[in-house]
Structures are given as C-alpha cells and as structure tokens.
C-alpha cells in the first residue's frame, strides 16, 4: 500500500498543499480530481521525490518510509510517475526509452518479460522500437511514457493528466490500457481533468481544492454526486 500522511508543501509564501492524507492499494485505480492550481501536480511530484514536503509528512510504500528520499530511490522503492507533459527522452529511440525505464536495480530482474508485457499493451511500441521518440505523435509519446514507467517494475503507477492534448478517441484508448495495467496488479494514482472518463475506470476518487482534500469516496458515488458534477463535469451533464 502507498500511504501519504499529513503532507504539506510550501512554495515561498504560497501553500500548495495542506495536510494531505491519502492511500492507494495495489491493483486499484484512484483518481484525484481538482481544478488547475489545486495542487494535483505538486502532490504527485512530492510523492515521487521531485518536491520536498514540510516536516511532519510521512510517505510510505508497504510500510517502508520513503519521505525525503531522492527521486531515483523512490523509483527503486516501487513508485513510478508519468509526469505531466510525458517527460520522455525525446532524442532517444523508443527502445532506449523503454530500456531506461528498467534502469533501476529493482527492475533488472524480469526486464524481458516486462518488455513483452508493454509491447502487448502498446503494440505500436514494438513496431516503432527504433524510432526517435520526439518524432512520434502525442498519443504514441504518451504510450512511450507509460511503457517506460511500467518497465521500472512499479507497484504503484502515478499518472499526471495523461489524456492532456489527446483526441477523445486516443484518450479513450489510453483509459482502456490503464485498466489493462491494473489487471497486472499495479496500483494506479491518476490525476485527471477528464473527470467523466477517469471516474468511469476508477475505484475511488479524491477531490482536491486549493491544496486541501475536500472530499473522497467511491468513484461511482462521486460520479453521481450533483455537486461534483457541477464542479468538475462542467455541469453540462446535469442539463
């Protein structure tokens, strides 16, 4: 289990996150909904070690404390992040991107099988393995990013707005592949703007507003909550 307790983050005078607590089980999808600027990206960055939390926070993976560890150690502890904007190595080939996913020593064993798995989930990546990543389309780049994260043998996968900039069709594909990944036993923490689609595949959801968690619950319940609809679904569906 990935567990976050009392997490606060401060940028200068600006409080980005305030006393956040949440958890993620293996094999489940939890989605974090919130407006731009609510602190979603900061939350993922903090869990993955790119941003340091205020004292008092505790982040743990299967009871192993990873608070304050450098990012590369946290990957080795089993948490992978697909950052906003994908963060692939553009000048490198698809194969090299995937290979680097398995750079950490946690991922050396079974690297070949995982590559096979990734190629099963994203057959395109097998076809394009020697292509330079930068020259691929947005959706394909997203596949590279997720594939690379999977290569690191994560127990928990975090994705920051993976559907950003994808056409509706592509993002539907993407969400399908996330359910496929969940089946392999990986826990997925998803940050999304696309509330409808993400709630549809998620087990649980957190509502984040101005750095605070203002609500949480089963995804299905939240999807039908009028207040949630109004705030995150544009309310259009209510009409």
């Amino acid at each position: 289990m990935l567990k976050v307790d009392n997490l606060s983050v401060v940028y200068g005078a600006h409080r980005a996150l305030q006393d956040i607590s949440l958890y993620l089980e293996k094999g489940e999808i939890a989605v974090i909904l919130g407006a731009n600027g609510a602190g979603k990206t900061t939350l993922l960055k903090t869990i993955s070690g790119l941003v340091q939390p205020q004292a008092g926070a505790r982040i743990s993976v299967n009871d192993q404390d990873i608070t304050g560890m450098p990012a590369h150690k946290i990957v080795e502890a089993g948490i992978a992040l697909v950052p906003e904007g994908r963060g692939i190595f553009g000048a490198l080939s698809v194969a090299e991107n995937l290979e680097l996913g398995a750079f950490g020593k946690q991922a050396h064993k079974g690297q070949k099988q995982r590559l096979k798995l990734v190629h099963e989930i994203f057959p395109k990546l097998a076809e394009r393995s020697s292509q330079i990543a930068l020259t691929m389309s947005g959706g394909e780049q997203q596949m590279v990013a997720i594939g690379r994260a999977l290569m690191s043998n994560p127990q928990f996968l975090m994705l920051d707005e993976p559907s950003l900039g994808l056409s509706p069709l592509l993002s539907a594909d993407l969400f399908k592949s996330l359910t496929a990944i969940r089946k392999t036993g990986v826990g997925i923490l998803l940050v999304e703007q696309n509330a409808k689609q993400s709630l549809a595949i998620a087990d649980r959801a957190y509502l984040l507003e101005t750095g605070n968690i203002i609500g949480q619950g089963k995804a299905a319940d939240l999807a039908n909550d009028p207040a949630v609809q109004k705030a995150y679904l544009g309310g259009a569906s209510a009409k």
Partner: protein, 243 residues
C-alpha cells in the same frame, strides 16, 4: 453594428509538426466578455499568446478594431491597448506592489508617469482590494493577492482588450466570488475581455459569448447556453460515451 474590438481570421499556429491552433476565426464585440473554453491542451493559451503577440501566427490574421496586429511584436500590441494576465502568475518580484501596478501604465496604451501614474496605481490597488499592501514586497503576498496584483497591473494600461488566462483558477470558493464580482464590474464598465477559464460557474455567470476549442480546432461559438449544450462540446469535455 459597430466594428468588433477584435477579429481573428483563419488563425493557425504550428509548432514543428504540432498544430496548436488550427484555422480559427471569431470576433469579440466592444464591451463584450468572451469566454474561451476547452479541455487542457486544446490551444486556448496558445490563442491568447497569439493575440498578445507572445507568438507569431503561422497563417491568418488578427485585427484590433481596424489595426492589423497579426505580426506585431508583443510590446507594440500592448501599446495598441491589449493587456493580459498569465496562467501562472507573473509578478515582478523585486518591485513593490505599487511599482508593479505603475509598471502597467508607463509604457502601454495610456502612458502615465510620475504623480499621475502613482495615483492611478494606488486607485487600482484599492479597487482590487490590495490597499493595505501598497508597499509590501510582492513575494510575501498570498496567491490570491498576487493574482489581484497582476489584474491591477493589466488594468493600469486602460486596456481596450483585456486577456485573462485562468485568472480564477486556484481560488477557494469565497475568493472565487470576489473574483467573479470584480470581473463582472469590469464588464459592466464596458471593458472588452477574453477569459480563458475552467470554472464553469464563472463562465455561466459572466460570459456574453463563448468560443470552445478542442485539439486546436474551434468546435463551437455562440451564447453560453447554446454552447454548453452542444453535443460536440459535451463530448470534447466529457468523453465520447456521453454523447
């Protein structure tokens, strides 16, 4: 009836292979508040950057009333009377709040200096609710106050067209009400505004008309109610199974 304050005509912007804004046309009438909405990554901010001159369009034309501003540099467009805020607040950290606002009225559309600039800036700080922060170093302002300050700086130029890029994002509900009220007042005074926004409440309450973008294409343009009930818009926003 009268000439629109802004007309965008067949505007396209390429970044390498990526088409961020694809053949978009729309108009903003004088005194109108137009909402520019769409999913993240749909090209809204790029649109604002094209209008304000941060980027040069690949093809197409932008007119500010009768002036062609298509390929003008950002500072020239600012001098024609276009002012903006930024998606991620950009205040001038080494200046005081007052100096930040003065910066808005020295070089832009209406050029003020000295006493006049000072008075105007003080008035604007009052207006956005920062009266007590005139001499506060800006980096110790809270997020909402920084947003207010940025708005005051944009207003200091007496803009003919004001561009707000997710100005309401990240505000808590009570702040949001204050923010919406402030924009509403501006509209009532006759300022022409384009706002990129995700907060649907605000869009509903404030906008006279909306343009919706998705993947760089304009998918709807009309009154707020019409646009938000457009099936294509719902699909773009909410995913296809909904349509």
């Amino acid at each position: 009836m009268t000439q629109p304050i802004l007309s965008v005509n067949k505007l396209t912007k390429n970044f390498g292979g990526l088409i961020a804004v694809n053949d978009i046309s729309f108009q903003v009438k004088k005194g109108e508040l137009m909402g520019l909405i769409g999913p993240n990554g749909s090209g809204k901010t790029t649109m604002l950057n094209l209008i304000s001159g941060a980027f040069k369009p690949s093809t197409g034309q932008i007119n500010l009333e009768s002036t062609d501003i298509t390929n003008q540099a950002a500072h020239m467009i600012a001098r024609h009377g276009v002012a903006r805020t930024f998606q991620l607040v950009r205040i001038l950290p080494s200046l005081t709040a007052l100096q930040n606002v003065i910066a808005g009225c020295v070089y832009g559309h209406v050029k003020l200096w000295g006493e006049d600039a000072q008075q105007k800036a003080e008035a604007l700080l009052h207006r956005v609710g920062l009266a007590e922060h005139i001499n506060t170093p800006t980096d110790s302002l809270t997020y909402i106050d920084q947003k207010r300050l940025e708005l005051a700086r944009a207003l200091a130029a007496n803009p003919r067209l004001l561009l707000l890029d997710e100005w309401l994002a990240g505000l808590n509900p009570s702040e949001l009400n204050i923010g919406i009220q402030l924009i509403s007042d501006l509209r009532d005074e006759g300022t022409s505004i384009i706002m990129v926004e995700h907060v649907m409440d605000a869009i509903r309450q404030l906008c006279d008309h909306c343009v919706v973008m998705s993947s760089g294409i304009k998918i709807a343009d009309g009154s707020v109610d019409d646009v938000l009930s457009d099936p294509e818009v719902i699909r773009a926003y909410l995913g296809d199974e909904h349509a």
